[in-house]
């Protein structure tokens, strides 16, 4: 085994769609197993389907793996199998070391018990020993930071407090392998930062982490390798950036269709985007088509990192009025340093004098992946409402 943490060999899991059938299958399985027969779980019976199909991967100690994919692709099922909650129907899973799973925070809490009582209960359920809890008790209360409420029944907690306490217990487990299912998005900002800091501590101490998330930012932040599941199958696997880029491209190809038709409702459409980055210089090219003429056009391109707005790139008062036709606009941002991560650009065309009047909009016209942090200062201005505006040269031509 050596430094192997997790080994998954051709694992499949089947589910049943119908409740009544599921009952019958369940009782057959139990009967067969208790009589010492094999349950022939590798064969599909009536109304069953593979929720996970032939998944294989290996993870070494201290590695981090992200799992992404649309809803229903089998991410949580895989996590639950790694934790031993569900057992594979085909294949084999080998896990070395103590596993801590954060599938739902506070799952073992009893609403009638006080926070204090629940800490002991939940810790025991998560596999901690009495000594461990006694030792870490103060640290847990400290981390949760819910004040006097620690002696009130958990059912009187706000949902935030509930989660804080649950997370506080869970992160004190000191697992060798930590499985996390989409829970870092809970709690307020301060608590989230605390959670990430704690995660980093765990990572530094050599914990193997598997993170299931829809937040690409969280995945990028934590995971070196990423797996993309789709319909229970392993669609893609490799370096996080690459997998995410393909995954996003995938979503885009099915989402961007509706905006590509031009009609009365959408007099202006953005048809194409192109972005190039060399060091701290960014060249953004946008093509759009308009069926109406616009007097005071203002093109606003917003650079996003996940759901965080990095800066606006605006054409300002440089554009003269436009007649109907096709145009290509080029922004040249001279000095904008970006850190590792993946970005996308949304764009809108609106009236310069009346910002509430938007003619055309595209929520995600182009993606940008930054693999190396660029050096240097940002040439930025603060615009209205504190929005950061990147200085740029603009030029527009009719095509």
């Amino acid at each position: 085994m050596g430094d192997l943490a997790i080994k998954v060999e051709h694992v499949s899991k089947k589910y049943c769609k119908s409740l009544k059938r599921s009952m019958m299958h369940g009782i057959t399985d139990i009967a067969r197993n208790s009589l010492g027969f094999s349950s022939h779980s590798g064969v599909l019976r009536k109304e069953e389907f593979w929720a996970l199909n032939d998944i294989s991967f290996e993870l070494k100690r201290g590695e981090t793996l992200g799992i992404i994919g649309p809803n229903g692709s089998g991410k949580t099922t895989l996590l639950k199998m790694l934790n031993g909650i569900f057992w594979p129907d085909k294949g084999k899973i080998t896990v070395c070391g103590r596993v801590g799973a954060l599938i739902q925070v506070g799952a073992g809490f009893h609403p009638m018990l006080t926070g204090r009582e629940n800490i002991y209960l939940n810790a025991a359920i998560l596999g901690m020993s009495k000594n461990e809890v006694d030792k870490k008790f103060d640290s847990i209360i400290d981390f949760a930071n819910i004040g006097d409420f620690i002696d009130s029944p958990v059912k009187f907690y706000s949902s935030g407090m509930f989660v804080r306490l649950g997370f506080a217990v869970a992160v004190h487990c000191r697992p060798d392998i930590l499985l996390i299912d989409e829970i870092l998005s809970v709690g307020d900002q301060g608590f989230q930062i605390k959670c990430f800091r704690r995660m980093n501590e765990l990572l530094d101490s050599g914990t193997t982490v598997i993170l299931v998330s829809h937040s690409m930012i969280a995945i990028e932040r934590v995971c070196k390798k990423t797996m993309h599941l789709s319909n229970g199958r392993l669609k893609d696997e490799g370096e996080t950036m690459e997998v995410i880029r393909k995954y996003i491209g995938n979503i885009e190809s099915c989402n961007s269709e509706p905006t590509s038709t031009i009609d009365k409702e959408n007099p202006i459409i953005f048809t194409k985007g192109n972005i190039k980055r060399t060091n701290s210089q960014i060249d953004l090219e946008l093509e759009f088509q308009t069926t109406i003429s616009i007097k005071n056009p203002n093109i606003v391109a917003i650079l996003w990192k996940g759901d965080v707005r990095v800066c606006n790139i605006v054409s300002g008062d440089t554009l003269s009025s436009l007649r109907s036709g096709r145009y290509k606009v080029k922004f040249n941002v001279g000095n904008l340093s970006l850190s590792y991560g993946h970005y996308h650009v949304s764009v809108r065309l609106r009236d310069r004098l009346n910002p509430l009047c938007t003619y055309g909009i595209n929520g995600r016209i182009v993606d940008l992946f930054v693999k190396d942090n660029s050096e240097g200062m940002n040439g930025i201005n603060l615009g209205e409402n504190g929005i950061i505006i990147a200085e740029s040269d603009v030029n527009i031509e009719s095509i």
Partner: protein, 289 residues
């Protein structure tokens, strides 16, 4: 040090895992699991205990209400002449309440264990923990009620100035067979209840019926089909016989002794096989519960 320890633990999950390993290793696995989860078991028991009467006005008084109402009902039935108890040599309330204490240990224990997995369903699908500990812990409540009732009975013994047999010192040994029987059955029913909710619904109904069928509140009938039926009722030997020993010191008949010993052996075998079956199949329950 913790890290060094945990590095040695390696778990594999694959279909029909236990069958491949063979039956002998199963006993070792079960033993190790129960041993290493003692504290978890205690915590789960404490949870049940602390929460059972927490939002209740009468609280722990509920433990006494069931035996008092049952005994009261039978006293009324007797007073109106509908029902005769048969030949009982000790004060009836002592006989009945001790009998009900034993019965309750079996019945409430069985109902609690049977519902334990279903009740913890949301937790089972989110955290991997020892399900055996959960089932065992849920039996704890029945034991606590039993102890409380025995203390209450102590007062009754003084009131009626009746000395129980010296065998009462071996009470824990006497109740062990019925506990094992109930727990074993509970293991199986908790699994089945996870799949068919019918089990939980039918159980409380069935319990009342079984209690009337077992001579808990009346003396064992001397003749007739009912007497024959009682001769083959394992609950009679595990509940009524120990009760009679406690109250009267000796047993009425030799057949009771043999029946008692056979039942004790049966309950041990039954408990062990149920535990093994539970161990073999518990991995299937999370996806169905």
């Amino acid at each position: 040090m913790n890290l060094v320890q945990s590095k040695e633990t390696m778990v594999t999950y694959e279909p029909d895992n236990s069958i491949k390993k063979g039956y002998l290793s199963i006993f070792k696995e079960i033993f190790n699991e129960l041993k290493s989860n003692q504290w978890l078991c205690y915590q789960l028991f404490k949870r049940d205990f602390l929460t059972l009467y927490k939002q209740s006005f009468f609280g722990i008084v509920w433990v006494f209400i069931f035996p008092l109402v049952s005994v009261g009902t039978f006293l009324i039935l007797k007073g109106s002449g509908i029902f005769t108890f048969g030949n009982i040599q000790v004060p009836y309330p002592l006989y009945a309440i001790l009998g009900i204490a034993f019965w309750q240990l079996f019945a409430t224990g069985l109902i609690a264990t049977s519902n334990s997995l279903v009740k913890a369903g949301p937790m089972i699908v989110k955290i991997n923990f020892s399900k055996k500990s959960l089932v065992i812990a849920s039996f704890g409540q029945a034991i606590v009620s039993f102890i409380i009732q025995i203390v209450f009975l102590g007062i009754l013994f003084i009131y009626y100035q009746h000395m129980p047999s010296i065998i009462i010192l071996f009470l824990p040994v006497l109740v062990l067979p019925i506990i094992l029987f109930s727990l074993g059955l509970g293991f199986i029913l908790s699994l089945l209840n996870g799949i068919f909710r019918d089990i939980g619904n039918a159980l409380s109904l069935l319990m009342t019926f079984c209690m009337l069928l077992t001579p808990v509140l009346y003396a064992k009938p001397v003749s007739g089909t009912f007497a024959d039926l009682t001769n083959y009722n394992i609950l009679y030997y595990l509940i009524c016989v120990p009760r009679n020993i406690l109250l009267m010191g000796i047993m009425n008949s030799k057949s009771d002794w043999t029946g008692f010993f056979i039942s004790v052996v049966l309950s041990l075998v039954f408990f062990t096989s149920c535990l093994v079956i539970f161990h073999l199949t518990e991995t299937r329950i999370a996806e169905r519960v």
